[in-house]
Subunit: 414 residues, 2 copies
């Protein structure tokens, strides 16, 4: 097959009304870039057959891979496959497996299947059916007159696994120079995107396989290393070589890989060491605790936390001496230290982590917005880190919580 040029067509009036954002196009684009397929256009059109036909005709004139999302459901509005069927002259036929799956779905729930649900088992004839592990409407992939059509459901929780598990392997099988593409994400904290790029500029510029792509998001930076190779072991070896060079220069800021997150890595590391921890949060107001308890299984290491938004709670619940609060203020190295050691003792944890600072919008105690102290307390040592953060209230809270988890992680590794 000649080099693929892709267009992604989102079908759904709710997109044109601004009720939802087209995250499907972003996700598919990213995945296609990873396997070396260029995306040239995104298009969104409503649930209108005439306009969908003209959008398909335009796409046929400028792309040889056309990916549709949406319009595969049971209602009258859902008309993607019906319209494509007419455009390419392929009839719709009932897929036995899909029909069985749908019938079983209703049987499990003990509710009668309405007739319109049968429609979901119809697929374009001679197409590769892409199973829907999260819902009822199957996807399809079909080649016709030099153009490849892929039809995917609209809800991201159905589309994402279908695309990754079934559409990507199908596309890879079409790419003539047989190779695989593999990538690994390195996750950084405590270093900005431009500082990281500066340290790695020569590597990033000189590498064409593997490629190194930085991305900044939510106060974190990631580097995606992507290798094209004959097979997986070869790709992994290529990635490992580049990774070693990166680690040598900026390894101290790497906290994890691929799907890791700061709280998941912290929970993991504590579990391995059979340690526990507790949190005392002032300016982050429960956010660090919430991040940790978003990790399933965190209860094996997380004892609990105190959100001490007032001096009264710092004193009465945590037992921070009032002399510290009065002499140094709640936003101080001394208070952070006391909060960490008190919460550790109170909750019988191996590690106490405390966060106190000024999230804004107004300064407090004569201290500037963005000044945050992170206290760490263990049986061996007590430490306090001072950070100066910028951004809105929400951003300062999020960054402060992440710094606390990051410093705790550094401490464990030290």
């Amino acid at each position: 097959m000649e080099r693929m040029k892709a267009e992604i067509i989102g079908v759904g009036t709710e997109l044109l009304l601004g009720q939802i954002v087209n995250t499907n196009a972003r996700f598919i684009s990213e995945k296609l870039a990873e396997i070396g397929i260029d995306v040239l256009y995104h298009t969104v059109v409503g649930d209108n057959p005439a306009r969908l036909v003209s959008v398909i005709e335009t796409a046929q004139s400028r792309a040889n891979l056309i990916i549709f999302t949406g319009g595969l459901g049971p209602t009258k509005d859902d008309l993607t496959k019906e319209t494509i069927s007419r455009c390419v002259g392929k009839p719709l036929v009932e897929d036995t497996k899909a029909m069985q799956y749908i019938e079983a779905y209703f049987e499990r729930r003990g509710i009668p299947m309405t007739e319109n649900n049968r429609k979901q088992a119809l697929v374009l004839s001679a197409s590769n059916v892409l199973p829907n592990d999260q819902g009822m409407a199957p996807g399809m992939a079909v080649k016709h007159e030099g153009i490849c059509y892929i039809l995917l459901p609209g809800p991201p929780r159905e589309m994402v696994p279908m695309f990754e598990n079934y559409a990507v392997p199908f596309l890879l099988s079409l790419i003539s120079d047989s190779h695989i593409v593999h990538s690994k994400v390195l996750r950084f904290f405590g270093i900005g995107e431009s500082a990281l790029e500066e340290q790695l500029m020569d590597l990033i510029d000189s590498q064409s396989n593997p490629t190194i792509a930085p991305l900044a998001k939510d106060s974190e930076v990631t580097l995606r290393i992507t290798a094209k190779a004959k097979n997986l072991p070869e790709a992994i070896a290529m990635i490992t070589g580049v990774e070693a060079k990166i680690e040598e220069r900026v390894g101290e800021f790497i906290y994890g890989y691929d799907l890791d997150s700061l709280p998941s890595v912290l929970v993991d590391q504590l579990e391995k060491r059979k340690l526990s921890f507790a949190l005392a949060e002032s300016c982050t107001g429960g956010l660090a605790s919430r991040m940790v308890t978003g990790v399933p299984g965190c209860s094996s290491v997380y004892q609990g936390g105190v959100v001490c938004y007032t001096k009264l709670v710092k004193q009465r619940v945590l037992g921070v001496p009032s002399v510290i609060l009065e002499q140094h203020g709640a936003v101080s190295e001394e208070s952070a230290r006391a909060m960490a050691s008190q919460v550790r003792e109170l909750m019988s944890a191996s590690l106490g982590i405390a966060i106190t600072g000024v999230a804004g919008p107004e300064s407090a105690e004569g201290k500037p917005v963005g000044l945050v102290y992170i206290g760490l307390s263990s049986a061996e040592a007590e430490k306090v880190f001072e950070v100066k953060l910028s951004g809105t209230r929400d951003m300062i809270q999020a960054r402060a919580a992440k710094y606390a988890l990051f410093y705790a992680l550094q401490e464990l590794k030290a």
Copy 2:
């Protein structure tokens, strides 16, 4: 001008690479829907002049309002206005005000202006310049041969205020039957979208002005009432009439309006009553606290919270009697009641709110995933509500936290 049919064109290779999501198209679509302009297509194209030309030609054949986002910056890649200039035959001319603004920008920062920044002051001749209050590149609005072209910068923080403050008034001036459009959002909790629609079906179906549009998002439902009228007082009167009918039927589920959120309304209501509150969270792990402390100024009513993820913390920090935990389990009406009253006393708050339940993914104490108890304690009364929630761990946590704030709010209003 005839009825406007809009196409929104996003220009930028970063969109096609999946590095960012096209939130601009969503925002603009929503705002256009509010003023009664239909959006028929969204298109995204890269920083490529030939492809941009063909996208513009397609749009000219099917829309009479074409809105561009992106490609107005100083670099070589930025070519939106240059390409439109060629397509419609309008030269680019330097806008004096924009040039002064850019020069002043560099002067304030004390850095020399590079030559490529001059490019940002170029605008299509005879266009209405849309000021950029958040950046350097101005926007433009221009009519040519029956088609209106609007050019906006790509970064949302520049685009959003420009669109709201300058593009919308320009568009309203074009709509021939001079009227204004005003809307009000009613925010619901504790009732699903379909149940709400069912109760209001006749109203929703029969209304054409004002319109009533339901939207479900993040376990909440909103109704947007939009009126078209000669002036604002008339629009408000029309909205008030419909609102009264809605309130009569489902008023108990309305917690706020427009930009309100459950935590902001709760903070507000407590402030008015000069009351304070404290939180004891088990399965939500700090999320309710985090939601509350996202509201600036919450410290006047929020004392603090305890994240009691373990029995030890429930007993030792909160002082929940161990006999309750042993006889009924941590996920029980009795524990919720004790947690609420203990945290209220511990933190000297007027109101204690407790959340205990099973967030999943696994059941606990033989109790099913999704079972949650909300305890409320005040000097006057103690109450416990049982809710059964569905969804993923994250969704159950989010819903449980919102239910807690909602019940607290109901209690205040009672």
